[in-house]
Amino acid sequence: MSGAIERLSSRFRTCAVTGLKVNKDSENLIKANAVIAIVCLLIGVTAAFGLVLTRWQTVHLLPAEMYYRFLTLHGMNMLIFFIIFFEMAILYFAGPVLLNARQPTPKLGWAAFGLMVIGMIMVNVMILMGKADVLFTSYPPLQAHPLYYLGVILFAVGALLATSLFFAALVVAKREKTYKGSVPLVTFGATTAAIIAVITLVHGAATYIPALLWSMNLIELDAQLYRLLFWALGHSSQQINVAAMVSVWYLLGGLTVGAVVLNEKVSRTAFVLYILFISMASAHHLLVDPGFGSAWKIWNTSYAMYLAVLASMVHGFTVPAGLEIGQRLRGFNAGKFEWLRKAPWGDPGFSGMVLSVVIFGFLGGITGVVIGTEQINIIVHNTMRLPGHFHATVAGGTALAFMAVTYYVLPLIFQKRIAFWKLAKLQPWIFGGGMSLMCMSMIYMGIFGVPRRHWDSSFSNAPFSVEFHPAVWISQASMGVGGLLAASGALLFVIIAVVTVFFGKPLTEQAIREGASGIPQGVLKLPAQLHEGEKVVAVHKKGAPGTMVLIMIFFACFVLYYFVNWKILSFLWKVG
């Protein structure tokens, strides 16, 4: 018996920075999932270069067939593989590691990982062989090889298993009393992400199992029904991202500047709102479809009266306000914005997180709510405004948050000093800046009716000529520049992460004491995570006046953009 306990305790190490007891099984699972996530990111980035250089008509690099193939490859690797592998790593971190617990059934974790890798490889091979030129959405009757659908199913089963281990870790930690009090907010947020993941993966089964049978000519498939089910998977999976990303914001806030949780009740309720309403977002993709009536569209597209939007607006306040109060507690208390001026902008973990909040909120969030309005969707559906919106949410928001947290995962979990530290400090700005420029250019082009997923803006072989507004060509160039910057930023991230993992200098206590390069400031000296005493009362009373100003600027942009779109809509032909 004592032997067993010793064996178990030898599976733990105590983190020198955070004091957390980290078990090696979870740690290895985090490493494996994170490494494969970055491999998938690399595939996606490679495709991205091809896409940007093709869509930019002046360059027009790839032939049509390769363009659509790269588009499929880019979509699957970015939206599904990179992000879900990374989320599995987050779940192994937010469960067992944050709760000081052991990893329940690590073998099952490895089986899940294996299934996901096999599924990912099958899908990518099918795409590259040209047997699945159906784009990310694979709308029937466009058909891919059965192995493509089977690959997605295997991947989803693996992800479902890994998610179940997160729930198991919650139970184990509770039963073995590895923490006192309630689970931390970050773990709570990750739990909502995991619950949404289960909902999403069930829809995934409902989508891809019939699609597999249909591709084998065993059943018939209704094109409209597939779209409904697919987006219950496709959009919900983006909501896993949102919940995971917001959790990462709270995590990085704590690690970088000791951000506080303003009010646990509010933040946790907001997370619960995500679970309740988020799968209704399938409707966002069906607003100008023939299969559904307006009552259904209005109710579902608004997530039952916009309560999930309310949740995001709440986090959009509590996250920066938490940063502000954390900074004020560290002594940056002068005026409205000293906390912001004196923030650790040279820490990629911090700058990446803040850019993620800003890009997600201003570019992704506002545009998302606006284009998800039933009638406004008429001037938006399948135009370039769509990729403009979701690159701001998924890439500028989620992917950037995941990159930022990687700058803390590398030293804390891989125990390595970050390679190319000076470039790493710039990386979030290159990626975030490029992505913002690309998104705004896409949105601008979309307003002129430029279609998405389209190889030839010159329409040279079409029976009738199409002349775009001259502004479109300027936007294409700025999209090209922004896209190349963003893809370079992502590539830089991949290089930094890979070199750090495989060739990085180890993180020693001596290196931390000496303040060696390649160590983010939050790892050099972890900010206080718990504040007590009189200072707290004074700061709490003052609240977050700077954030109040920022959030009002955000609100003004939101209202303006929303009503401008109604105005544009009103100029259209009457339709109904």
């Binding site: 947020g189 306000a321 969707n377 609240g543 032909w573």
Partner: protein, 183 residues
């Protein structure tokens, strides 16, 4: 103001009861956000009553072959010419108009009158297509097996295009149709 003797980050397990009163600034923002959400919601039904652009339509399932046949009859009845090998059709004002999306063509070319209401039936006979009236920027999804009948009233004359904006295979980017609107 609630109990404020301690504050903690999101990675610390909160102790005791965390169901506490909300600070005043947060309360203000939540109230603003909630009211805004209700306005966002109300705008959609309001636009159905007061606005001119809604995706309601007359919607039902249809056999693709039957839709094609109906369109052929429509073309035969009102054909006035041909452009790029595609028939040009001028339906009478107020009538039902049929448009087929297929790999990779919009069939037929339509000639409409400004200020007159038509019921435009959209469907596909093969895969998903995207109806995008250019440069007006009206977009609808076109799905095989479903008839989407939309009441449209052109408010400007001119020479318009229909771009396909849903990926429909290798010829997707060549799928361009035409609508003429005359005074």
């Amino acid at each position: 103001m609630s109990e404020t003797e301690s504050m903690h980050s999101g990675i610390v397990p909160p102790q005791g009861v965390w169901w506490k009163n909300v600070p005043p600034q947060e309360k203000v923002w939540i109230t603003i956000a909630f009211v805004w959400c209700m306005i966002l919601f109300a705008m959609m039904p309001v636009w159905h009553i007061r606005g001119g652009q809604n995706p309601s339509g007359i919607r039902h399932k249809v056999d693709p072959a039957a839709f094609l046949e109906r369109t052929e009859r429509f073309v035969e009845e009102y054909k006035i010419g041909e452009e790029s090998g595609i028939p040009v059709v001028e339906p009478p004002p107020g009538s039902h108009v049929y448009l087929v999306g297929r790999m990779w063509q919009w069939y037929p070319v339509l000639k409409l009158k400004k200020g007159v209401e038509y019921t435009l039936h959209l469907s596909s006979i093969d895969v998903n297509h995207g109806f995008a009236l250019f440069p007006v920027n009206i977009n609808f999804q076109v799905i095989p097996g479903y008839d989407y009948g939309l009441k449209i009233t052109p408010n400007q004359s001119g020479d318009f295009r229909i771009i396909c904006n849903e990926f429909c295979g290798i010829g997707h980017h060549m799928m361009v149709g035409k609508v003429l609107v005359v005074d």
